[in-house]
């Protein structure tokens, strides 16, 4: 079956509207009433349970809006104007607080309330359609399906709805809504001097975006610098682990290597210790007075401590190296399986042709691996762009620098964002940066993903 090309969104929307206008024109009194009072059509035609469900849905929605949602939604435009009040309590000699508006709660619940319209629209549509369908069935003197029959379709030809409804609801509540909420913060001035409930924040439009891109030279410079290092880091961290892990796996797999299992186990032990424990220990080892420097000095290899983590270039080098140490075992394990799948005849013919091990690696192993692990590489790359653990636990973004606003030379965008949020309470700036990270990562991974061999030549595996 050929895939039908879908019309653009607005055309489909217009057609949808037309459909409902047509049904209204053709509808009788009850069907038309259903447009206002949900479930009217179903009730009038004896589908009591169905009608009550529709009506109940509408009532619940109105109750939710009037009793809860509207209180917050009415202030959505300003995000609140009255901060909480203080009242002197003479008897107890304390000030008590009269709760006022809370910008954050207004924003949060407004998003929730606005989102609640979506299920209502869906319910309303199915209500109108049910009314219209019932009317038509009546007009042609056919019997209407009972409630049980309707419900049964959920286990039969509408089974996909039953299966997907729960994941969809949780996805919307716990993933989509928080994201919308946090994206909206980027358009406010929620920072250290606007902390509800004491002092409220409001909308500032695109000011934060402008600040990061050009208006505030310090922010712009910091963002550019940190973004640059983030990419350098992601490239080095991803490919160093990938290639070295693969070489390690090749070495262990090589014929003639004894005690293969032992080697593999030794390397995998780094996985056995929780990453944050080993990273924190390693960061202690490399301080100016840490074990490594003390040993080097005692052996008179260096006279003064090497600034492993306090010099920008050293620190950048060290985080990449230490990341190799903690990351290689994973690539090694993964590569081992794939390497064993490479047809041995390829290597045989290569050796007959007199290829060197390096040539074999570049012409056979690497292309094969890249073909199979292309998507894996992309996820690792994206994971490294947001590799909070390694950076934060090793250097906490340090060494601090005056070039960046509240940032350090090994800060990734994500650790910088963390600092801005936790130390500076600059939520709006952090949210803006979060949006930028998302745009960059999404654009990059989609483009690269579509260019990988595994996608373009899906059907030509091997």
């Amino acid at each position: 079956m050929a895939v039908k090309k879908r019309d653009p969104f607005y055309l489909r929307l217009a057609r949808g509207f037309n459909e409902y206008i047509r049904m209204f024109r053709e509808g009788d009194l009850w069907t038309r009433l259903s447009y206002l009072i949900m479930g009217a059509g179903s009730l009038a035609r004896g589908q009591i349970a169905k009608g009550l469900l529709f009506l109940g849905g509408e009532a619940a929605f109105i109750w939710f809006y009037a009793g809860f949602g509207w209180r917050y939604l009415k202030d959505f435009g300003t995000l609140g104007t009255n901060a909480q009040l203080r009242v002197w309590d003479e008897a107890d000699e304390v000030f008590r607080r009269i709760p006022g508006d809370n910008s954050m709660l207004i924003l949060l619940y407004s998003v929730l309330t606005l989102a609640a319209i979506l299920p209502l629209v869906m319910l309303w549509k199915s209500n109108v359609r049910a009314a219209y369908k019932a009317q038509k069935l009546r007009e042609s003197n056919k019997s209407l399906p009972g409630f049980l029959a309707d419900a049964k379709t959920l286990l039969d030809n509408r089974f996909h709805m039953t299966l997907l409804s729960f994941p969809m609801i949780t996805l919307a509540l716990f993933t989509a809504l928080p994201i919308v909420f946090m994206v909206l913060i980027a358009f406010t001035n929620f920072d250290k001097s606007h902390q509800p409930p004491g002092s409220l924040f409001g909308w500032v439009g695109l000011a934060n975006m402008r600040n990061v891109v050009f208006s505030n030279p310090l922010y712009a410079r910091s963002f550019g610098g940190i973004l640059g290092w983030t990419f350098v880091w992601a490239v080095f961290a991803t490919f160093s682990n990938y290639i070295l892990g693969m070489i390690l796996a090749l070495m262990i797999n090589k014929k003639g290597i004894k005690l293969k299992r032992m080697w593999r186990t030794i390397f995998v032990t780094t996985i056995a210790i929780p990453q944050f424990v080993s990273l924190m220990l390693v960061s202690k080892m490399f301080t100016d007075t840490g074990v490594v420097n003390v040993i080097l000095q005692r052996l008179h290899i260096v006279s003064s401590p090497i600034p492993f983590l306090t010099d920008a270039n050293w620190a950048r080098f060290m985080v990449v190296m230490i990341n190799i140490w903690v990351g290689i075992p994973y690539t090694m394990l993964m590569s081992t399986g794939i390497l064993m799948n490479i047809p041995a005849e390829l290597y045989e013919s290569a050796s007959i042709d007199g290829a060197t091990p390096v040539q074999t690696f570049i012409s056979i192993t690497l292309p094969y691996m890249l073909f199979v692990t292309g998507p894996y590489l992309i996820t690792t790359f994206v994971g490294n762009i947001n590799n909070f653990n390694v950076i934060y636990l090793l250097t906490a973004g340090g060494p601090a620098t005056l070039d960046y606003y509240q940032g350090g030379k090994t800060d990734l965008l994500v650790t910088w964002l963390y600092k801005l949020t936790v130390n500076e309470q600059n939520y709006s700036l952090a949210s803006t940066i979060g949006i930028f990270i998302f745009v960059i990562v999404a654009a990059l991974s989609l483009t690269v993903y579509n260019l990988t061999g595994s996608v373009k030549k899906e059907d030509q595996f091997s």
Binding site: D89, V94, S199
Partner: protein, 393 residues
């Protein structure tokens, strides 16, 4: 106006009634204190319960260090503790978010009468007292090894470095830390203040600041200079380190390491643009604040007052060697004889209140200190301009 007042009073009365009726029930209170203070706080809370019968107290104790209180509070004010200890540099942020319940009326008079003027001032912002002063020791001074330095030596940084070099020892100071490095700038006459717009004012890039920066560069370049965190000082004191800038929390560790040679003094003077200037220091207090959103403000005040009274502060001194803010407790002979606290109180003559420092200062100051420790040859004026512009963002 009148209507508003009336409603406010009516509301207050309602709340009071609500609180009064709740009195018969349990009073749940949550207290945040540092890990080190947990045992003592628990003990004091039990005493408080015994001293206030007739109420069903349900007091829970959580671990949040004084340094993290504001951060943890802002995560969810409504779920934060009713009473929490915080370092007074967080006062302004906490007041901006209206997080602290003001102390007023007879309670205010009592706190003002019982505590040293400086400690009350450190908990006061724009004329309003926002918490109960708890300990007056959030400052730093110089620990030194009596066998290396004489009492005269520790008066001057130059002299100390000379002596240390001759003895092959180190002088320790964590210069890559905004808290300690400010010592030079503030000593040289620079200021950290808050402007009317609520933003940080920092003039470290003026001529005085430049002179101070040159002094820092000279200090960090000296072979006897050593930096690091607390663990470095604790490990090296008495060994390679002969003197170190730190605070009272290290007193017992220093005493253990140095034994008979344990001594402490105010910070020394340093040569700044040809003149001799005394190193200043941040002087801060720890304050016990009451969450303004607490459902039991009155009871929380009662408990906070108890935890900071004379007897409690003496216990904090005896068990944790924390300096009292209570006038009577501070006059106690045992407190007076404490070497570290004596040095701290002598240093307080050059103390600068930390409540006028916003969070934005620490990062850039640390970055500047790091440049100095790494013996960067960058233009000092340029670095200071960056420091000042970042701190005042």
């Amino acid at each position: 106006m009148n209507v508003r007042k009336l409603t406010a009073i009516a509301l207050a009365a309602l709340i009071t009634l609500g609180a009064a009726s709740a009195l018969a029930d349990t009073v749940p209170l949550k207290v945040w204190g540092s890990q080190e203070n947990q045992a003592l706080l628990g003990e004091l809370i039990e005493e408080f319960k015994a001293a206030n019968p007739g109420v069903e107290w349900d007091i829970s104790l959580g671990v949040v260090s004084e340094a993290d209180a504001q951060t943890r509070y802002s995560e969810d004010p409504a779920a934060a503790a009713d009473i929490f200890a915080f370092a007074n540099d967080q006062l302004r942020t906490l007041v901006t978010s209206d997080s602290l319940s003001e102390i007023a009326g007879s309670r205010l008079e009592a706190v003002e009468a019982a505590n040293t003027a400086g400690s009350v001032e450190s908990a006061t912002l724009d004329g309003v007292l926002y918490g109960f002063p708890m300990t007056a020791d959030n400052g730093y001074f110089m620990y030194y090894d009596k066998s290396v330095f004489s009492e005269e030596d520790v008066l001057s940084l130059d002299r100390m470095l000379e002596v240390a070099n001759a003895a092959g020892k180190k002088v320790f100071m964590d210069v890559s830390n905004g808290w300690y490095i400010a010592s030079f700038f503030l000593g040289a006459g620079c200021t950290l203040d808050i402007g009317e717009d609520g933003k940080q004012i920092c003039d470290f890039n003026n001529a005085n600041g430049l002179a101070a920066a040159e002094a820092i560069r000279k200090f960090t370049a000296d072979p006897a200079f050593m930096t690091g965190d607390d663990s470095v000082l604790q490990g090296g004191m008495g060994g390679s380190i002969a003197a170190g800038v730190s605070g009272t929390w290290n007193a017992s560790a220093m005493e253990d390491k140095l034994g008979e040679n344990y001594a402490a003094a105010p910070l020394p003077s340093f040569t700044c643009g040809g003149e001799l200037k005394h190193m200043a220091s941040f002087i801060g207090t720890k304050i016990l604040g009451v969450n303004s959103l607490s459902d039991y403000v009155k009871e929380a005040m009662q408990l906070a007052e108890y935890l900071t009274n004379e007897a409690s502060q003496l216990k904090f001194f005896e068990q944790r060697a924390l300096g009292p803010t209570n006038i009577v407790a501070a006059a106690n002979p045992a407190v007076q004889e404490n070497i570290a606290l004596a040095a701290l109180s002598a240093q307080s003559a050059w103390g600068v209140s930390q409540k006028n420092v916003l969070n934005g200062y620490w990062g850039p100051a640390e970055a500047f200190g790091l440049e100095m420790e790494n013996k960067s040859d960058a233009d000092l004026q340029g670095l200071l301009d960056q420091l000042a512009s970042q701190a005042t963002q």
